[in-house]
């Protein structure tokens, strides 16, 4: 698994085959650029780690934006409450419209996160990322690319500032994971 992670998928034979499939399906005639490779990857749905893939597919299954909000709010409720004294600035996500803190910990070589926010939707987004990333190795977490955000189907439900907030949360979590390497 981890060996495959280190090799970009599009260099494997299976990946090339998939790429060709997609190319034919979408009748793309232009040469593949790095950007289109990303698109292909999103279309083929190969997202790792598995926990992330399952979060993405569970969100994709919800057709209605209001239901996706509902799902986020439910996820927010699943988070373990964080004690106020742990909410210090080093855990605070910068550039988010609401206040949000993400606190990492390492257990048996795997990274786990806790999060808190004053806004429930933001807390739901943090919970989503925690569900997607918690319990994976620092290597796996740091190799996640943010492309999956587009696959969540949350775009119409999130203002750009919240999407940026989600990106900022992800990059903080990845930096935290890297610090365990």
């Amino acid at each position: 698994m981890s060996a495959r992670l280190r090799t970009p998928w599009f260099r494997t034979d299976a990946g090339v085959a998939r790429r060709r499939d997609v190319q034919e399906r979408s009748r793309w005639r232009t040469r593949l650029t790095p950007r289109s490779i990303i698109l292909v990857r999103a279309e083929t749905g190969e997202i790792s780690p598995k926990s992330l893939a399952s979060v993405v597919s569970s969100f994709q299954a919800v057709p209605d934006p209001m239901q996706r909000y509902r799902q986020l709010l439910f996820m927010a409720k699943t988070l373990t409450p964080v004690q106020a004294e742990r909410l210090c600035d080093m855990y605070k996500v910068p550039g988010c419209v609401s206040q949000v803190w993400i606190i990492p910990s390492l257990k048996d070589g795997l990274v786990y996160y806790d999060a808190e926010s004053d806004a429930l939707l933001t807390k739901g987004l943090a919970a989503l990322l925690i569900k997607a990333l918690s319990g994976n190795s620092p290597e796996e977490i740091s190799s996640v690319t943010p492309n999956f955000i587009a696959d969540l189907g949350l775009k119409s439900a999130l203002t750009p500032s919240r999407t940026n907030g989600l990106l900022n949360m992800l990059s903080l979590m990845q930096n935290q994971a890297r610090s365990f390497l």
Binding site: D64, P65, M66, Q67, Y69, R70, L73, F74, A76, K77, V97, S98, Q99, D118, A119, L120, L121, T122, S156, A157, L158, T159, R162
Partner: protein
């Protein structure tokens, strides 16, 4: 299905079926209904209904499929067709630099630019159009006063009195000035009961060291109006100057600089039906004449020699470089548009619809509205919080129902700290809003609160 499904479906159907149910503010939809019922009941059309056609931008659906209800007018107003046209015609018909050439287009552009200055002067009843300085926005106008008058006349120990409700634009330039000159900033708090500027505290702060009193004419959060006559009287008593941030008053009520008695007011074009990138400073001519230039460049000079320059008289002295010509001309068109309706009429209508908003909103459980009650006089906006729901969450879901509201600190962090809340949501009206907009907002707000109550 869980019990909360009803609220979800209510909100979703609100978003989707808002228009179909005929509850919407879609102008064509309404006209048809009004005509249909005309035989039985004919009520006089409101200003909102009359002017709606001038703002086609309002007739659209948002990404979620809901009819747009624009209630973020305190952040920026929409622009009527004729303002958009004035902007466009400048570029299409007579784009040319002003005050420069002798050719036809240049003189046409210069005429239009200077005519716009006269329109603004008339709009605020200035004694002469030389009292109007075009700036990029109100913030620049305040910075201009701080960097010219402030730098020249203020010394260490001098005092500037502001209030805790100021917009950041009317705090930060004075903080920068205080760092440069050593002058001291003093902040007036609000009255406990009505959250209005505490004039008694202001009176106690004024002394012979006071050189400037500055405040928002109308607050963008509390909606309260400053007691300008008393402020001016207190300032005159010690020879201090008065600057009013009129961004939230100019679009909504008659502003007469001669009767106000302030030394400067600043205005923002885009909040009064004009374009962004243009604002203005009005200053009493005798005061403007004592102010040194701030930014150097073309236009603001009289003669330039290699070792020194002499400067133009106001307002040219303060307008370095090629100005925002199209924007200035379009702001003039906005003044024409507003004047044609009549600022008295706009104010009268907004008092009525603002009271309607306040009353409807205060009936919603768990809502706290900031600022004075309508009986004390307040702008047609409500900044508020719903107990247990973050303002950002609230406005995100209101957006799903097509309601454009602002959430956050509205560039007034000190005020929110003073009120002891992290932020607030704000619904702000303008003359083209109608009661149905308020109704749609209240409906969506109730559904949103119900939606969140599932997760308590």
């Amino acid at each position: 299905m869980p019990a909360g499904t009803s609220s979800l479906s209510a909100l979703a159907s609100h978003a989707r079926g808002h228009h179909r149910r005929g509850r919407c503010n879609n102008w064509r939809g309404r006209s048809a209904r009004v005509e249909a019922s005309a035989s039985t009941e004919r009520r006089p059309t409101t200003l909102g209904e009359e002017t709606r056609k001038d703002f086609p931008i309002l007739d659209q659906k948002t990404e979620s499929g809901a009819q747009l209800v624009y209630l973020d007018n305190a952040a920026t107003s929409q622009k009527p067709n004729e303002v958009v046209d004035a902007h466009m015609f400048y570029y299409k018909d007579y784009n040319s630099n002003v005050h420069r050439g002798v050719h036809y287009l240049s003189s046409k552009a210069t005429d239009a630019y200077e005519l716009s200055r006269r329109k603004i002067a008339r709009f605020v009843n200035a004694k002469t159009d030389r009292e109007i300085v075009f700036t990029r926005n109100a913030s620049e106008a305040i910075n201009l006063v701080a960097n010219t008058w402030g730098t020249k006349y203020l010394e260490a120990g001098d005092e500037i009195i502001l209030s805790v409700l100021e917009h950041h634009s009317n705090i930060v330039p004075w903080q920068l000035l205080a760092e440069r000159t050593g002058c001291v900033l003093k902040f007036v708090k609000l009255t406990k009961d009505t959250q209005e500027l505490d004039i008694a505290e202001l009176r106690s702060l004024v002394n012979e060291k006071t050189k400037l009193i500055t405040t928002a004419h109308v607050s963008n959060v509390t909606g309260g109006e400053a007691p300008v006559a008393e402020i001016v009287e207190l300032a005159r008593g010690v020879g201090a100057k008065v600057l009013l941030d009129a961004c939230q008053s100019l679009p909504h009520m008659p502003v007469d600089v001669q009767s106000l008695g302030a030394d400067w007011i600043v205005g923002s074009g885009h909040k009064m039906c004009g374009p962004t990138g243009i604002g203005f400073l009005w200053g009493r001519l005798d005061v403007l004449e004592t102010m040194p230039p701030w930014m150097g460049g073309g236009e603001m000079i009289q003669d330039v020699f290699l070792e020194r320059s002499t400067y133009a008289e106001p307002p040219g002295r303060f307008e370095a470089g090629t100005p925002a010509i199209a924007e200035a001309i379009a702001l003039g068109a906005a003044c024409d548009y507003l004047s044609r309706i009549g600022m008295d009429r706009i104010h009268e209508y907004e008092v009525e619809i603002g009271r309607y908003l306040y009353e409807k909103l205060s009936q919603v459980p768990k809502v706290t509205i900031y600022g004075p009650p309508p009986s004390r006089g307040r702008a047609s906006l409500c900044a508020f919080n719903v107990e247990g729901i973050h303002a950002n969450d609230l406005c995100t879901l209101l957006d799903q129902a097509g309601i454009a509201c602002r959430s956050g600190h509205h560039c007034t962090q000190p005020l929110h700290r003073y009120l002891d809340v992290p932020g607030s949501a704000r619904a702000s009206l303008y003359f083209y809003n109608v009661r149905e907009d308020v109704d749609a907002f209240i409906d969506a707000l109730r559904s949103t609160i119900e939606f969140f109550s599932e997760f308590e």
